[in-house]
Symmetry: C2
Subunit: 196 residues, 2 copies
């Protein structure tokens, strides 16, 4: 086989969710591109990796020491939304109805994957709550076992502060179907019912 092609396929194959077949397709797409375009792609990998660090306040990815959201004085800095990952911030921002700031844990408690409390950005969250005038902490963790465990743990740590701690709602997604919903989702939806 062609060594440099095999090598490129292997590199694509290392990315999450990219199997051998897709990796092959992508590698061939690179061969079909102009050398100029490939150079731009190649450089953008290095540039992104070198330029992007974690915001020293919230842990979000940022090109500056403090991220855009933490720097934005128009946002409500008394509400912190805790998320697992920077990707979740992008999703939340897309929804356009949250104006507070964030705190990125960079994972969730998952002993099976070797991730415990010390690997997560939790200590800085407690410091933020202790040092600033925070009114509410919203836990926006994925509603799975590890997410719930992490939420419970953070809830315990923050209990003694005079703040509201909330959790985003679990339930049937918009456009979803009661008939085909799983039992866990349905019971969460019932538990979390709100008066109309």
């Amino acid at each position: 086989m062609i060594h440099s092609l095999e090598n490129l396929i292997d590199q694509f194959n290392k990315l999450p969710g990219i199997g051998k077949k897709t990796a092959t397709r992508l590698a061939f797409a690179i061969l079909d591109m102009e050398i100029k375009e490939v150079e731009i792609f190649s450089n953008s990998l290095i540039l992104a990796k070198k330029n992007i660090k974690k915001c020293s306040t919230c842990g979000n990815f940022s090109e500056d020491d403090i991220c855009d959201i933490c720097q934005n004085q128009k946002r409500d800095h008394s509400i912190i939304c805790v998320v697992e990952d920077s990707k979740d911030i992008i999703a939340m921002e897309r929804a356009k109805n949250y104006n507070g700031v964030y705190h990125v844990l960079h994972g969730k408690i998952s002993p099976l994957n070797g991730i415990n409390i010390d690997n997560l950005n939790i200590k800085k969250l407690i410091e933020r709550v202790a040092k600033n005038d925070i009114k509410e902490v919203i836990l926006a963790l994925n509603p799975d076992l590890e997410g719930e465990t992490t939420a419970m743990y953070i809830n315990k740590l923050l209990k003694n502060f005079d703040i509201t701690i909330s959790k985003i709602a679990s339930g049937i997604p918009m456009g979803g179907n009661i008939e085909y919903s799983d039992i866990a989702t349905l019971s969460k939806a019932l538990e979390g019912r709100i008066k109309i």
Copy 2:
């Protein structure tokens, strides 16, 4: 938004079959990688693009002027299998029951996409058949409208040479289901029936 991250997402987004969501996931995966790994990935793109050219005999991708298959004297150089794309050679080689050589057209006749005869590696195929002692040309083009048109056209060009021209069989795929087969596949399977 973070400029160099947006840029990297755009680059992944340009690849075929990679939508905005997958591109975002891949870009974040890059940020999670070690800088050393990202450099290897970045270099492998440039290396593949710079090192790989087209075999001057068959048009297959190759790091040398003549590809491994055309150089291999253990293969039967009197049988040429015509394929649309280098990717098809990888698939054929995986099947491990073909020992001839190949010819890559780099596309198929498709006027709607602006690809006509002159854009394809057909002239060199005719030269190969004229200059060498060829016994058989197997047309292994995808069984769609453009593939069939291309096969018919090549068949016409090669008709006057004293060679066998064949076409790979169309029919129900192994493990497939007659009940759920489309009409075109079923009628091809019937047409191409063989005595047992």
